[in-house]
């Protein structure tokens, strides 16, 4: 905050510029991010919350919570939560289970490690739409997967992989994996190999090393990856439409909100659904962090010395 030395000679200007700005100075670098969060997250959130408690039309006389009551009172609407959960939870769990051993294996330099890591991360660069198009071809009735299964005589008629729950499930698995993998890789490569060696010399076989040392130390990473993955998959929208069955089994909650907003033009109702969505995501993240704290009670920093 200090002026250049040359201008200090003029006297009073120095102390004047070093009052308030110096105190707030350290915040300056984060100011753009803070503004962005306020403008793009906090304001829209509060705006939507306010909108959701001012119901339109027939619901207007039902009070502030009429939109919420309507959502939970309608079985078709209510089911969208279940439709989303039964995608988001298994996809998150399965991606974690697949990514964890890979990230652990690749935590130290191996021959070909860059290539493997690159291949694993590529799906991230594909948009959901491109991915969906590819899937329709690849997994379609005349696609390679069915052709292969037919040729191997594992099936007699083509299996329906897309335009149903399976299609969305596969699409989310692929799109979500890189983020989970990269988060876990970051944490796994920070593991001190000496800790496992110490556990070994103290008599711990591989299973007890994993359960007592490695997994607890990776718990913060697993929690972060699970939270990210769940939030991303719970807000699934494009693939639920493109490779799913949007009128039935994959009518996810984001789709319900979209239909309220752009088919019925009921913004307050759509906002209420979005609030429900946010609440569920928040609950999940809170649960994951609580579980993490149970697994890893030590300080989160300074443990690698």
């Amino acid at each position: 905050m200090q002026r250049a030395v040359g201008t200090q000679a003029s006297g009073d200007t120095g102390p004047v510029t070093s009052g308030a700005p110096r105190r707030w100075g350290p915040l300056l670098p984060i100011a753009p991010a803070l503004l962005l969060v306020l403008a793009l997250f906090v304001y829209p959130f509060l705006y939507g919350l306010n909108l959701s408690v001012h119901p339109l039309g027939a619901l207007a006389k039902g009070g502030m919570l009429a939109n919420y009551a309507a959502f939970f009172g309608d079985p078709r609407e209510r089911t969208s939560i279940w439709n989303t959960l039964r995608l988001a939870v298994p996809v998150t769990v399965l991606d974690l289970v697949l990514a964890l051993p890979l990230a652990y294996r690749l935590r130290r330099p191996l021959p070909g490690q860059r290539v493997i890591t690159g291949l694993l991360v590529i799906p991230m660069t594909l948009g959901t739409v491109l991915l969906a198009e590819g899937m329709i071809e690849f997994f379609g009735p005349a696609g390679w997967v069915n052709k292969l299964l037919l040729a191997l005589h594992l099936i007699t008629t083509p299996v329906q992989f897309v335009h149903n729950y399976t299609g969305v499930f596969i699409s989310l698995m692929i799109a979500d994996f890189p983020a989970v993998f990269l988060v876990l890789l970051g944490y796994a490569s920070g593991l001190d190999p000496r800790l496992e060696q110490a556990a070994r010399t103290l008599g711990a076989g591989w299973w007890r090393r994993l359960r007592r040392v490695t997994l607890p130390l990776l718990a913060p990473g697993i929690a972060a990856a699970a939270a990210l993955s769940f939030v991303a998959t719970f807000s699934v929208f494009p693939s639920a439409v493109l490779v799913g069955e949007p009128a039935g089994s994959t009518r996810v909650i984001a789709l319900a909100a979209w239909q309220a907003a752009y088919e019925q033009y009921d913004y307050p109702r759509a906002s209420a659904i979005a609030m429900v969505m946010a609440a569920i995501e928040l609950l999940f993240v809170a649960a994951v962090l609580a579980a993490r704290n149970r697994a890893y009670q030590g300080p989160t920093i300074g443990g690698r010395g």
Binding site: D192, R194, L195, Q197, A198, A199, R200, T201, L202, G203, A204, G205, R208, R212, V213, P216, L217, A219, Y296, Q297, G298, P299, I301, G302, G303, R304, G305
Partner: protein
């Protein structure tokens, strides 16, 4: 097997038995060899260690001493050779079943466990009953004077306290061998001295066969029953601290134990173990030849700073030299001296010499050692 152990270990080892009751923990290392790619970390190392002996593996960093320790712990598989513990080959025994206490340089405490849980870990892996675990953890923490810190996490401890926890964790399992890899190198000088005494006390109390890896000759001298000097994966000399300090067999070992003046010489003549040598700049000196030195060969001469006598110029015959600078080091002055012929020496004197003073240097032929070239 135990009878044989008692008989065998009461041989040459009894002079260094720290705890008289302890007759196990005899280690024989035979032809231990390990390569990492093209680098030879250990080259056919042979070493016999008596039960209860404290042995230091001493050498510069990268000399292979840590590799040797990792081979003992089972964390590194040797390419050739074997390690026998009380006559039993360790090769088929994985580290988790060796039951050795290992203290790592970085301590490797589990950051997500309390001090007590860290110490209890090995006992739990052994299936010790939980009431016995609590009792033995308490004893181990008392042994290292940390009985009040069991509930803390490692990150809340000082370096010295972490070091004690690492020791307690290694000792609580009543290991057959204690392996320590530069355990004091992360501590400041004062704490290092304190922990050194602590380690010595623990060794005298428990009498565990201990391998202690270090690059600090002072640590090795003060702690060890014997010191094994390693250079480039080759065992160069094994002996008691007095032996290696007073009778180094090579210029490498001499350099490690205070022979700070090492310089190339030519052996002009030999009379018994007396060697007349000449150094660059036509310096002529008389020294004591070590085995392997022959007339006419290029050799290395070594002398300690305190064994060089410094006299005023002209008062006696000797090497004419000039004081370059003098450092006060507490109990003496260490001076850098340049002989007029060009060779620099480090000398230790009780007198304060000023920069630029003209002096003569004299060396007792008994104190100037002549080694064959490395």
């Amino acid at each position: 097997m135990s009878a044989e152990t008692v008989v065998r270990s009461s041989g040459p080892g009894e002079a260094v038995q720290a705890a008289p009751g302890r007759k196990i923990g005899r280690v024989e290392i035979r032809g231990l060899t390990k390569r990492f790619g093209s680098v030879v970390a250990l080259s056919a190392v042979d070493l016999d260690v008596h039960g209860g002996e404290f042995i230091s593996l001493l050498g510069p960093s990268g000399c292979g001493k840590s590799t040797a320790l990792n081979c003992l712990a089972g964390l590194v598989d040797p390419d050739a050779g074997q390690i026998l513990l009380d006559g039993v080959d360790l090769a088929p025994v994985p580290p988790e079943r060796r039951g050795f206490g290992v203290v790592f340089q970085s301590y490797a405490l589990f950051p997500h466990m309390t001090v007590a849980a860290n110490v209890a870990f090995g006992l739990e892996m052994m299936g010790v009953r939980s009431d016995a675990v609590v009792r033995r953890v308490g004893q181990a923490l008392a042994l290292v004077h940390l009985e009040d810190l069991g509930d803390r996490y490692p990150a809340q401890l000082s370096g010295g306290q972490q070091q004690r926890v690492a020791l307690a964790r290694a000792l609580v399992i009543e290991p057959r061998l204690l392996l320590m890899d530069e355990p004091l190198s992360n501590l400041d000088a004062k704490l290092r001295l304190e922990m050194r005494l602590e380690i010595r006390r623990l060794h005298q109390t428990l009498g565990l066969t201990t391998f202690y890896v270090t690059h600090d000759q002072e640590e090795a001298l003060s702690l060890s029953d014997r010191i094994a000097l390693i250079k480039d994966g080759v065992l160069r000399q094994v002996g008691t601290p007095e032996e290696v300090y007073l009778h180094p067999q090579s210029s490498f070992v001499a350099n490690f134990f205070g022979y700070r003046n090492l310089f190339p010489v030519h052996v002009d003549a030999m009379r018994g173990d007396r060697a007349n040598v000449s150094a660059p700049g036509n310096l002529r000196l008389e020294g004591t030849a070590r085995s392997g030195v022959e007339q006419g060969m290029d050799a290395v001469a070594a002398v300690r700073p305190e064994d060089v006598e410094v006299l005023p110029a002209g008062s006696a015959p000797g090497i004419a030299a000039t004081i370059e600078f003098a450092e006060f080091v507490g109990d003496a002055f260490e001076c850098s001296v340049v002989a007029d012929a060009g060779a620099p020496f480090v000398v230790r004197t009780s007198a304060r010499w000023v920069r630029g003073a003209q002096v003569v240097l004299r060396v007792d032929p008994d104190r100037l050692l002549v080694f064959p070239p490395e």
